[in-house]
């Protein structure tokens, strides 16, 4: 392949720093809410970012295609699009391909070509591959991100999508016409990177299948967290905390099958003094968790919202160095970096509170299974390659197309 197109994946040989603002809202009854609410919550937190990255994830937004994998694609040029579509034609039944609905917004420049596809694996090819549908899809994501220059998969889950780019989140939301979508769960992010990658794919949320992460803060333990993950085959090539957090959740929840509550406790461990005061059985669990997963503990200030089909989880660092406020109104749970973001969306919440450091705030959509990721069995190295598609994360992964 001869091209001067960018790989559309970005490797950082250094740690990327940044601060941010975030939000998450989930109606546990499954009722749908307009994307406008998510935009508004981020708009109120405008000053938490610097216009170099904004984005949203919405769940339940494609009721007309609930069982299709929804690919949100970013293309540098038409050639990249053609190459990816050729791959799609080969491996998937594409039931709808269309440009992402956008509107011109002053200030949003250099947007890539944005397309979305609703597709499913060819049954015969899926059978031949002996993979689960999820594995099959992640392999395709890996293939596109690593081998098609100028193409990037922003999200690939069912009945959900990631809308992100370079700009303030309210501009990005407006650009993607989010007010025209309705979802049961939304997360949003406002980025304040201290370097300027200017790469649309590098904005948050960070996604794999239906799993998304938005993150505010700075993980001071990045060095050991990434080395720890490398042991299991993950490759942290983006140099961001979000990438590390995403892989840690994948490791703990999917591969080590920890319950969400304990995965959160491993990532934001209680202090030893607190563990020493726990009842014996709980102490045994926490001692083991902390000792075994110590290298994975996220140390330093952070607030994270993990979104997925079925709900969301918000988590703070263990000594509460980043802001996080939660509120409930009826079946709606909302979190944000600032209370004003909540009040902009929910006029009169039943309760507003500050979650405790290191204790997850969890919303589950009624009737939906979780955790998440359905039938995924791939290796960490394949996960990394799928997510980032960089040379370094894919060099040991055999990609067949």
């Amino acid at each position: 392949m001869t091209t001067e197109r960018p790989r559309y994946a970005e490797e950082a040989s250094y740690k990327i720093h940044g601060g941010c603002g975030l939000m998450g809202i989930c109606d546990e009854s499954g009722k749908l809410m307009s994307g406008e609410d998510a935009i508004l919550a981020m708009a109120v937190q405008h000053d938490r970012g610097n216009g170099l990255g904004g984005g949203f994830a919405g769940y339940g937004i494609y009721p007309e295609f609930p069982d299709h994998f929804a690919f949100h694609m970013m293309y540098h040029d038409i050639q990249a699009k053609e190459e990816v579509e050729a791959l799609f034609d080969q491996y998937f039944l594409v039931d709808l391909a269309e440009p992402m609905p956008t509107r011109p917004v002053k200030g949003i420049t250099d947007a890539p070509l944005l397309w979305r596809y609703f597709l499913n694996p060819y049954p015969s090819k899926l059978e031949e591959s002996e993979l689960s549908a999820e594995d099959y899809v992640v392999k395709a994501v890996m293939n596109i991100n690593s081998s098609v220059d100028g193409a990037f998969v922003a999200s690939s889950g069912k009945n959900m999508g990631v809308f992100k780019g370079v700009g303030y989140p309210e501009e990005i939301g407006h650009y993607f016409r989010l007010e025209e979508y309705e979802g049961n769960t939304w997360t949003g992010h406002n980025r304040f990177p201290t370097n300027t990658p200017g790469w649309w794919g590098g904005a948050h949320p960070f996604a794999l299948l239906d799993w998304t992460i938005v993150h505010n803060g700075e993980i001071s333990s990045y060095g050991i967290n990434s080395r720890y993950l490398e042991q299991f085959g993950y490759k942290c090539t983006l140099g961001t905390d979000t990438e590390v957090a995403a892989y840690l959740f994948d490791l703990l929840l999917r591969r080590h099958k920890l319950p969400m509550e304990l995965a959160c406790k491993a990532l934001a461990s209680p202090l030893w003094d607190e563990i020493d005061r726990m009842p014996e059985a709980e102490q045994a669990v926490m001692r083991s968790l902390r000792s075994v997963y110590g290298p994975g503990m996220l140390n330093g200030p952070f607030a994270i919202v993990l979104g997925f089909n079925g709900g969301m989880v918000a988590l703070n660092d263990r000594i509460k160095l980043r802001p996080l406020v939660a509120a409930r109104k009826g079946s709606i749970l909302m979190v944000a970096s600032e209370e004003s973001a909540i009040r902009a969306v929910i006029a009169e919440p039943d309760s507003v509170w500050m979650p405790k450091a290191g204790e997850p705030t969890i919303a589950r959509v009624k009737g939906m299974d979780w955790p998440i990721h359905g039938d995924l069995h791939l290796d960490p190295s394949e996960i990394s390659c799928a997510v980032t598609g960089t040379e370094r994360s894919c060099d040991t992964v055999e990609v067949t197309a």
């Binding site: 050991i224 990434s226 503990m297 000594i319």
Partner: protein
């Protein structure tokens, strides 16, 4: 013929105008430097520059100076090299020395600098906010299996969870130093300090004296090739058991405690007759290969009710592969001893020319264990010239779980690094069995000195963690991203897994 070509290394200067003529220097010197004839008369040739007399002189009238005797310039033939030739020509002997390698090899720790937080993430105040140093040494599973406890919570599933680890309140242990090479009072000081600090002392290969039984929960008992004092009782008393394969100061070399040091107490502790030489063979004669090590590890586990079993090795060229083998053989920790580690007696040629620096050994071993996905299976303890809390932090950032200190702990008890332990006449009462010298260390005082030192280093570690913006030692452990090198070449940076400053 002259009796020796070798001139005294030091000059003992006494300001007789100030001298009280009290004779304390005569009494304090373990080397017999002083004769008293109305006033103390020093014999320079016996002086080791241990400063015992200087410290105890009430008039502060003694100073030790280097003998400034000029040698014809020759960068190739240093005075030390010439003296070694003369000494061996005179004696025909293997040059014997003690403590750690003093040659001017690159001190890698001094070419590594740590990071600090500025703006993007906050530093943390170590005095007010929690700053956790607690460290577990031992095997950890790769994951933790849990099951619902029926009350909405979770409990460990059958057979799951971390077992049989040593809990340390600070990631600093005391290195193995045998009773015999050091005095019983030194052993007692170390044991009492370990208990107060929530860490561990290590018997070395000379057995466990009954006076240390009250502290046994903070004692690691060592099993070396000489098997001195090793019995079911000994194994049952230790908190953990350590197989000593080698020592940084003398890799591949056995030990030899001369019969004159085997007094009644040493004899009963080592379970060998008084006055006979205590000889440790170079290898364990039941370990000629890695599978034999596995056999011994499990023999010790069987005999001790499955206590943690560690393996101490000298850092040598192939240390990463060896450590990997040790971990796969079932060891709960690997103790790496770098080539600057101390000794009570070793051939100088071995001490000064065999082995590799601890910094490199840590980096290579930690990376290998990660590459093989077995880093959780065993802890790594690093030793071999840990001189300060900065060295501790750098060793941990390179990948060590904890460090052990030998030379520094003896310095806390008065050692001045005169490198004369092998003489058995330590004026400070540390590496001697002479009762008039050993009583110079009061264990209570010794324990306090050691406790102070480790407390001070621990506080400094907390300051470093705070600057790094993390509040638990596990977030620094192996976090090489927080290190940068200055003045190391590219290859070395690669081996260490660190970037040069500025990148």
């Amino acid at each position: 013929m002259p009796t020796s070509f070798i001139q005294p290394e030091f000059k003992v200067k006494i300001d007789y105008d100030k001298c009280h003529k009290c004779g304390r220097c005569v009494q304090q010197c373990g080397w017999g430097v002083y004769n008293f004839n109305e006033r103390p008369i020093p014999d320079d040739s016996k002086c080791r520059a241990c400063h015992r007399c200087v410290t105890y002189c009430p008039a502060h009238c003694i100073s030790i100076e280097k003998n400034q005797l000029a040698y014809r310039d020759n960068d190739n033939w240093s005075p030390a090299a010439r003296k070694a030739v003369w000494r061996q020509a005179e004696t025909g002997g293997v040059l014997l020395t003690s403590m750690g390698n003093p040659l001017p090899y690159t001190r890698i720790f001094d070419h590594l600098v740590l990071d600090a937080c500025q703006v993007t993430n906050p530093s943390i105040d170590p005095l007010r906010e929690p700053m956790e140093l607690r460290t577990f040494i031992g095997h950890k599973p790769d994951s933790v299996g849990v099951e619902p406890d029926g009350n909405g919570g979770f409990r460990l599933a059958e057979g799951e969870g971390m077992k049989n680890n040593l809990m340390l309140d600070t990631p600093i242990l005391f290195s193995p130093m045998s009773y015999g090479s050091v005095s019983l009072n030194v052993h007692k000081s170390l044991a009492m300090a370990a208990q107060r600090l929530g860490t561990f002392m290590n018997t070395g290969e000379g057995g466990l004296h009954a006076d240390l039984f009250p502290y046994q929960d903070n004692v690691i008992v060592q099993v070396a090739s000489g098997r001195f004092g090793v019995s079911p009782d000994y194994l049952s008393r230790g908190a953990a058991i350590e197989i000593k394969i080698g020592q940084g100061a003398k890799p591949g070399i056995g030990g030899h405690l001369p019969g004159e040091k085997i007094n009644k107490e040493v004899s009963s502790t080592r379970m060998i007759p008084q006055g006979t030489d205590a000889i440790s063979p170079a290898p364990h004669h039941d370990i000629y290969s890695i599978e034999d090590l596995r056999q011994l590890i499990y023999a010790l586990k069987e005999a001790s009710g499955y206590k943690p079993v560690g393996v101490k090795i000298a850092a040598v060229h192939n240390v990463a592969a060896i450590a990997s083998g040790i971990v796969r053989a079932g060891a709960d920790y690997v103790y790496l001893d770098g080539f600057k580690g101390g000794t009570g007696a070793a051939p100088q040629v071995i001490r000064d020319h065999i082995g590799i620096p601890i910094e490199i050994a840590i980096a290579a071993v930690d990376q290998r264990l990660r590459d093989e996905g077995i880093r959780n299976w065993a802890s790594v303890i690093a030793a071999g010239s840990i001189r300060s809390s900065a060295d501790v932090a750098k060793a941990i950032a390179l990948g060590a779980d904890a460090v052990a200190i030998g030379s520094a702990s003896l310095m806390a008890l008065g050692c001045h690094l005169c490198q004369s332990c092998h003489t058995g006449s330590c004026s400070w009462g540390i590496t001697t069995q002479k009762p008039e010298l050993t009583r110079r260390i009061d264990p209570e005082w010794g324990a306090e000195q050691l406790t102070n030192l480790v407390h001070a280093w621990s506080h400094e570690l907390q300051e470093i963690l705070g600057a790094l913006g993390v509040n638990a030692i596990e977030s620094l452990r192996g976090s090489r991203e927080r290190l940068r090198s200055i003045g190391l070449d590219e290859q070395m940076n690669k081996v260490l897994g660190v970037k040069p400053a500025g990148m």
